[in-house]
Amino acid sequence: MSEKSVQARGICKSYKSLFGSAKTVLEGISLDIDREEIFGLLGPNGSGKTTLISIFSTLIYPEKGSLSILGLNARRDRGEIRKIINISTAKPNFPWSLTVRENLVHYGMLYGLYGLGLNRTVEDQIDAFELGEYRDVKFENLSTGLKQRLSLAKAMLNHPRLLFLDEPTTGLDPDMSAKTHDLIRRIHDEEGISVIMSTHYMPEAELLCDRIAFLRKGEVAALDTPQNLKNHLELGKRVKIAYRGLANLDALRALEGVLAVRGNPGMVDGQIDRKVARPVDGQLDGQVDKQLEILMDSNEDSLDRILKSFQDAKILDINIEEPDLEDVFLELAR
């Protein structure tokens, strides 16, 4: 049996105000996370991702439930667990007036590093996360991307066996996000570090995570590989059609196997955005090229029925896509 990085049973957490009212954040979370996987926690804002990661990393304590981290009891062996885990948080914050190097030295000291070992580890992380140019720059003067890299470098100071990443690419531009993804993959693949990450970026989860737990209102709404999640939810396929001519939208919507019809771009709550495609008496004006996005079920006859409904139009382009994790997210978050 594979070693578990996390074994959680019935984890509950609520936050109480000073005057006694309580807000439940987690309700009976149970998870088994394997040592060798990159595990993703997904969910809408307020679903409990950060709280769950904070509990797993022993920063805060659960109210109920049992928790084992890397085989250690999270209640009894917290000190030992903290030596072999680390965390990089969303919106990383460090003492403002300390430079990149000083911050790493400070946190290295908190982890009991000393002497040449401390210096070597700090320099290694500066090199690994390409922070050499910024080593003497104060934290307050770093860009968001550099702050995130510093946070990751700090999280690697103690050579953790388990790394928690709380929304590691929040606020980063696409280029920096891609670099961060590479870093996470490298940390996991080359250094053999278990990674548990929270994110609300679906492509990121799909790209990096071996398995995903969807949290909704403090509960695990779904747990599986990204592919299985898409398969099991039977979300259907997305057909994008560019055409010129007339298409009867009402008839299209009424077709068997058609789940939704959207203008593209500019679909608003399942309705055609009139700025994009302007219907005339239930039909689209035939003078301009138009695009529609049709969500259909997996039945092979559905596509045939859809195409027949465009008999009065000229189809310019057609593209059929499998559902992505974003669709899964929207489905589960309902």
Binding site: T50, T51, S54, F94, Y107, L110, Y114
Partner: protein
């Protein structure tokens, strides 16, 4: 872990406070400006009132004690205040450390800064007001300083507990507590002049006894140094226990998360 790694867990807070302090222009005000203003005000007041030499010593001991207390207690409180202000408290408490690492590491820096301030103030007092801090030998000022620093640690721990219990609002405690000590522990007057119930309170503050002890070198009189030492040790121990409990409570309530957001 070996002793060097353990030592560095303590020195981490010393290092952080040192780096932040050396970049903060207000450090100069904390170390030089306000202490000098305070000392010169009191010293010149003694000249104006034409008090005798023993009374000059009485007042200058109070002035020096208050200044060192404020400097050192802030250094202990800074260990969490800096983290709270920069919203990085989460990173500190995810590390494998105990409350003692934070308190004693920052207290060590407070002792260094307090010692520098003491050296400056004692020198200036000697040249301007003929106050000889080593009149009874070197042991009395060292015991006196140890008492002031232990009191600073107790106040600093109280502020840290307040931060973890009440969050951002605890800033106020950091700036106010030494003021209360000024009122109740006889910094500028003997505690006998206080109303009876405040005298009881004064007798519960270790600094009262350390002031009486050091002043007894200049104005011979009774003192109860052993009581002061015992109270300081008791409060320090109690403070560390309560700080540990405050950390556990902050982990239970989630305030550690809120302080980082």
């Amino acid at each position: 872990m070996n002793w060097q790694g353990e030592l560095n867990k303590y020195l981490a807070s010393t290092y952080k406070n040192w780096v932040i302090s050396k970049r903060n222009v207000f450090t100069l005000f904390e170390l030089f400006f306000w202490p000098l203003v305070n000392l010169l005000s009191i010293g010149l007041l003694t000249r104006f009132l034409m008090v005798d030499e023993s009374m000059v010593s009485f007042l200058l001991v109070g002035s020096i004690a208050l200044t060192i207390l404020q400097v050192a207690q802030m250094d202990v409180a800074y260990v969490l205040l800096f983290d709270m202000w920069s919203k990085s408290i989460k990173n500190t408490f995810i590390a494998p450390i105990h409350s003692r690492h934070l308190i004693f590491g920052s207290l060590f820096f407070g002792i260094m800064r307090g010692s520098v301030v003491f050296a400056i103030l004692a020198s200036i007092s000697f040249y301007l007001f003929d106050f000889r801090f080593q009149a009874g030998g070197l042991i009395p000022p060292l015991i006196f300083l140890a008492g002031v620093f232990s009191m600073a640690a107790i106040i600093g721990i109280t502020v840290c507990i307040s931060i973890l219990t009440f969050g951002q609002k605890a800033d106020v405690a950091a700036w106010s507590l030494s003021g209360l000590i000024l009122l109740f522990s006889g910094i500028y007057y003997p505690v006998d002049v206080l109303p009876f119930f405040l005298q009881v309170l004064a007798r519960a503050i270790p600094l009262t006894y350390f002031l009486e002890y050091y002043r007894s070198i200049f104005i011979p009189g009774p003192h109860h140094l052993a009581v002061g030492l015992s109270l300081a040790a008791l409060y320090l121990l109690l403070g560390l226990i309560l700080f540990d409990r405050a950390i556990r409570r902050a982990r239970r309530t989630g305030i550690l998360l809120w302080l980082s957001e």
